[in-house]
Amino acid sequence: MNSFGAVVPLLVVVGAALIVFLLEAFLKKENKNYLAYLSLLALIGCGILSANAWNGGLTYFDGMLRLDNAALFLTFLFLIAVAFVILIGMKYISLQDANHGEFYGLLLLALSGLMIMVSSTHFIVIFLGLEVLSVSSYSLAGLKRKDDKSSESAVKYFLMGSFASAFLVFGLAILFGTAQALDIPGLVDFFKAGPDNQVLGVVGLGLVLVGFAFKIAIVPFHMWAPDVYEGAPTPVTAFFSIGPKAAGFAVLIRLLAPYWNAGFRSGKLFGFLWALAALTMLAGNLIALRQNNIKRMFAYSSIAYAGYMLIAVLAGDGAGLLFFLTIYMFMSIGAFGSLIALSRKGREYNELGDFAGVGFKYPWIGAIFAVFLLSLAGFPPTAGFLAKFYVFVAAVNQGLTPLVLIAVLASLISVYYYLRIIVYMYMREPEREVSIEMENPALYLVLFLCLYGVLQLGLFPGNVLYLIKQAVAALL
């Protein structure tokens, strides 16, 4: 249905970003929190508007903007993620010398980029959404301006990101030249018709996939991730771990879903994606074993998670992928939130050695962090187990048993480094003094909600699965 209502959620977010930028100039440093409240209000408004559009199938701009259920589900996911990031960032940015009101505005713009990406099937729009997301992310990574690592992270992300965009645009140009179309249905028709110059089309498609593989950090296009994750301010890292990944996978399933029942598993790209998935899981988890910096370890862990998600794509399990992404959002933001809890003014504790004895000194934070780690490692009854279980079962049903064996092996490897943090927290004598800033109610709220999410989805996932079923119906 063609309706202006399809644009309104996006307009709310962009409008709020502009107001934040404007107010930033007039607000005193002590009052910067009002910008956070304003942003949260905009997120709630956007959430209500999106909820009203559920099952509406609204479109606008000649179908370039499609607010189908899949787009809406991912929009909800992004709204929750950005709300969490704002809440865990409020205190953090004033403690860690990154107190710029633009933090909230840029986050909202990044969110608008994500929303644009997931709510279109036209590659020009998807590319522009990706650029809005990336450009805001580059400067978010460099917000701690006095910190060399943060600046390094911004520059690296910018260079590698531009490189990836170049691949993407080049691929799109070739695709447009051969298929005379840039919207996904048009491209699907082109590849199904199978004319003579399909080789060039496959080259173009391959370049587009490489561009997206950069953005979602799939081995061997992952080199930027550890440095960027380590240097960026921790709330921003939490956002990086879920936002770009979820949007990239959303585009991937939109592109590949029409093939799931039509010879996808014998196609040319299948072997390529299969190898990438296996490599990503193994390399991510093996390199993570050697990391002593927790943020770097999480970077490699998020690379490995991209590999598990790729299995869901290969198995043609859209519902499994969305469920996985939902659970990963709660686990990842919860884990980064626990890292932020262990910080004080001008100091963050990110080395493994800092965690010795934390479990007894700060029992609540230690316990909550341990739950997130167990969930990431995939222990029942946490949601991390269920996420992997659903994806692996779907893959075995599709005859991908060798890949699932690799995945199980990779998860077993990952158990070692997640448990290592828990061992440090509970079984080592503290080596150095760790003192943290305790007064941070917004952060504890997020930790509690993430904990609730991880346990709720692990024990009673029915409601969310019902929504996801409706969302995936829009894709096929």
Partner: protein, 165 residues
């Protein structure tokens, strides 16, 4: 008349590119490149693609050249590259040159009949492009403005002066 202009622009283009390669001063090279882009713009105009002609001059001769000159001014390249590196550069240049030549040969062989000089091709006029931008491609066009705001704010955040500094 058109033939005469064609040879004039072509001579300018080839001559200025030669000048760009030969001159030792990088700033001169950059300026030669401006002349080359401007004459290429003229060639596009002769082919009946006024939009391409203008874009060639505005974007390449204008924006990109300013960027080049800034980079040349900011990083002093000094004596140039070492002899060891130069061997690789030449090898790479020859390799790229052959690929480019092959591409041009294929393109010329596969190209449809060349449109007559002075005759406008469909869908390339500025009016047509403008109309498309504000009808079919309005949504991407509007997203571009969000993109520019994100880039501007991002750049300002990273370089602005701190309070009390």
């Amino acid at each position: 008349m058109a033939i005469l202009l064609f040879f004039l622009f072509a001579a300018f283009a080839v001559g200025s590119v030669l000048g760009m390669i030969i001159s030792r001063n990088q700033a001169y090279s950059a300026l030669f490149l401006v002349v080359a882009f401007a004459s290429l713009g003229g060639l596009f105009g002769l082919l009946g693609a006024p939009f391409m002609a203008v874009v060639q001059i505005i974007i390449y001769a204008g924006a990109i050249m300013v960027l080049f000159i800034f980079v040349i001014m900011m990083i002093h390249l000094g004596e140039g590259i070492s002899a060891e590196k130069k061997k690789w550069t030449i090898a790479a240049a020859v390799f790229m040159g052959i690929i480019l030549l092959a591409e041009i040969v294929f393109a010329v062989k596969g190209a449809p009949a060349v449109p007559m000089a002075g005759q406008e091709m469909a869908g390339t006029s500025p009016t047509e492009i403008g109309r498309l931008l504000f009808t079919k491609y309005l949504y991407p066009f509007e997203i571009t403005s969000i993109l520019i705001i994100a880039a501007l704010v991002g750049a300002v955040v990273l370089i602005k002066k701190r309070e009390g500094e």
